[in-house]
């Protein structure tokens, strides 16, 4: 899939919660083809202390309006600069990068998103729906204010919520939610994005029930195109770049992700 460098114009910037923003962007040329799970590298301008681009999941694509949506989590100066973009600003973006999720047809699937891990699941849910799949979505967070876009996701199917403090939905981590505790999960695939511990715990449950589990990994990246080899993850095939072989991996391909590996489960690791 050909990669592009495109100058986007910011159409709007809305605050989702205390440290997440939703950017709506458009460009002069037709948006290139993309698949759910791919990501974009956004250039950081006017930031003397930072240098590298910042990677973000492709949140939402509207080919009719020719718009792209990105969820920006502010964690440092670079992401804060991007989160501060205003309507009318221009920003250079490299996309689409990496490999995305596999889309089945006419299946019952579960999407699990922790915190801003819901970001790539919108585009995914839309494509799953288009292909006749029945989507159940489980969103987790530490508190109510960490649950992003739950109402909006309901257009794709049932939305379930769990919070660690019980302020919204069921109390506890996503792996403790009733839907995950069923003796026989009624899903033919699980898609997961969020903190590392959460994804490992979800993948363990999937593995025990022999359900394929696709996880979208996050990593510190420099180039985003496989040139620098900085963003590796340990797989059964050796070190692989999250930016090119991922960010979506089948959890069984990841070394140390076996259910026999004891790990904790925390949404906000």
């Amino acid at each position: 899939m050909k990669k592009h460098l495109i100058d986007f114009k910011v159409l709007s910037n809305s605050s989702l919660n205390y440290n997440h923003n939703l950017l709506e962007l458009s460009c002069d040329q037709p948006l290139p083809a993309m698949v759910p799970g791919q990501f974009a590298e956004v250039k950081v301008d006017n930031s003397p202390a930072t240098y590298l681009r910042r990677p973000f999941s492709i949140h939402r694509i509207d080919y009719e309006k020719n718009t792209l949506h990105l969820i920006i989590k502010s964690v440092g100066e670079g992401t804060r600069k991007i989160a501060a973009l205003q309507a009318g600003d221009t920003v250079n973006i490299m996309l689409p990068l990496g490999n995305g999720f596999t889309i089945p047809q006419n299946s019952e699937v579960l999407l699990v998103g922790g915190g801003c891990g819901v970001a790539p699941l919108w585009f995914l849910a839309a494509e799953l729906q288009k292909n006749g799949n029945q989507v159940t979505m489980l969103i987790g967070g530490r508190t109510e204010k960490d649950i992003l876009l739950a109402a909006e996701y309901s257009q794709f199917g049932e939305v379930l919520i769990s919070t660690e403090d019980g302020s919204l939905g069921q109390k506890g981590m996503v792996t403790a939610h009733t839907v995950m505790l069923q003796e026989k999960l009624p899903f033919s695939a699980i898609y997961c994005c969020g903190p590392d511990g959460m994804m490992r715990a979800v993948s363990h449950i999937a593995e025990k029930q022999s359900i394929p589990c696709m996880v979208s990994l996050e990593n510190t990246m420099a180039c985003g195109i496989g040139a620098c080899l900085c963003c590796v993850v340990d797989t059964h095939k050796g070190h692989q770049c999250v930016c090119t072989e991922g960010p979506v991996f089948n959890s069984k391909d990841l070394k140390g992700w076996s259910a026999e590996t004891e790990v904790g489960c925390s949404i906000n690791k």
């Binding site: 050909k2 990669k3 592009h4 460098l5 250039k43 003397p48 202390a49 930072t50 240098y51 590298l52 681009r53 670079g78 250079n92 490299m94 990593n219 510190t220 990246m221 420099a222 180039c223 985003g224 195109i225 496989g226 040139a227 620098c228 080899l229 900085c230 963003c231 590796v232 993850v233 340990d234 050796g238 070190h239």
Partner: protein, 303 residues
């Protein structure tokens, strides 16, 4: 249009702009963004005698106007390179230069000997300066006797242009440059990354899995510029400038300091079109200053 071609020993480059090894993959990663053939040359990812997995994650930390890396020469070894990667490089008609590294002199020699058989590899760059491997790498480049030994051994088996990439993590880089020149190097390239460190104060832990790593990017440019100037005055062979070059102005500064050609590294990550902008910018500079030949810039610093 001014003449942009420069000569590195037997290599004729169509312009002085190349890419730094480890920042450009095998060229094809950039095919979507630029005409790779428009570059003076490309330095491909380091090759070692055997397969190397590289260092554990995390391998990268961003620092003010730069980055630290601890990749650790991840590659699949020379035999894989010959069989699988070399055929893919045949599509490039500019100078394709292989970066060669290893943990032992014998390993360097093995890789160089096999590279010597590859017609389309125009030169090798001997990497005696990688700070991210436990054995070999930088160790060879930090003393005159070891730099001499590995350069001399490779010289015996390698017929084409031999470039030696120098480490800045030394007391006198000019002395190391003179040593490798005497041992048979046809050119030197500098600088490789500077040994650095990043700490996560919240966790009280180093950011990189290897604790220390190699610093690159605009943050190191003044150091690289100074070292290129020092080395260019100390040796007769061509010098290739590397270190934080992001703009045409940066490239011209390095040439004025004595570099015959330059390599663009970390800036490729920020904008994959950087090299093209630099080539156009050099041409613009020459036209503005009514200079007909880019070679007139080399060592043209007025002190």
């Amino acid at each position: 249009m001014a003449n942009l071609s420069v000569k590195l020993h037997h290599l004729n480059l169509k312009n002085p702009v190349m890419t730094a090894s480890g920042t450009f993959g095998y060229g094809e990663e950039f095919d979507d963004f630029i005409d790779v053939n428009a570059l003076g040359g490309i330095l491909v990812k380091a090759t070692t005698s055997g397969h190397r997995e590289g260092n554990p994650y995390p391998r990268m930390a961003e620092t003010p106007m730069g980055m630290l890396n601890a990749v650790g020469l991840q590659n699949k070894g020379i035999d894989y390179f010959v069989e699988h990667i070399y055929p893919r490089l045949l599509k490039y008609n500019n100078s394709v230069i292989a970066n060669v590294s290893d943990s032992t002199v014998e390993g360097y020699v093995e890789v160089a000997r096999k590279m010597n058989q590859l017609e389309h590899i125009a030169a090798i760059e001997l990497n005696i300066s990688c700070p991210n491997v436990k054995e070999g790498g930088m160790a060879f480049g930090t003393s005159c006797p070891s730099a001499t030994a590995v350069t001399r051994a490779v010289r015996e088996v390698y017929d084409k242009t031999l470039i030696v990439k120098l480490s800045p993590n030394v007391t006198s880089i000019a002395e190391i440059a003179q040593a490798v020149e005497a041992a048979g190097a046809d050119a030197v390239s500098l600088i490789n990354t500077l040994l650095g460190m990043a700490i996560d104060a919240e966790k009280r832990k180093p950011v990189l899995s290897t604790i220390t790593g190699g610093l690159s990017g605009p943050a190191i440019k003044p150091i690289a510029l100074r070292m290129v100037w020092q080395v260019a005055r100390a040796v007769k062979i061509p010098v290739i400038g590397i270190g934080g070059i992001s703009t045409a102005a940066d490239a011209i500064e390095f040439m004025l300091a004595g570099a015959t050609a330059i390599q663009v590294g970390t800036a490729n990550f920020v904008d994959p079109r950087t090299t093209m902008n630099i080539i156009a910018g050099i041409d613009d500079y020459l036209n503005r200053h009514q200079i007909n030949d880019v070679n007139e810039l080399i060592g043209g610093l007025i002190c």
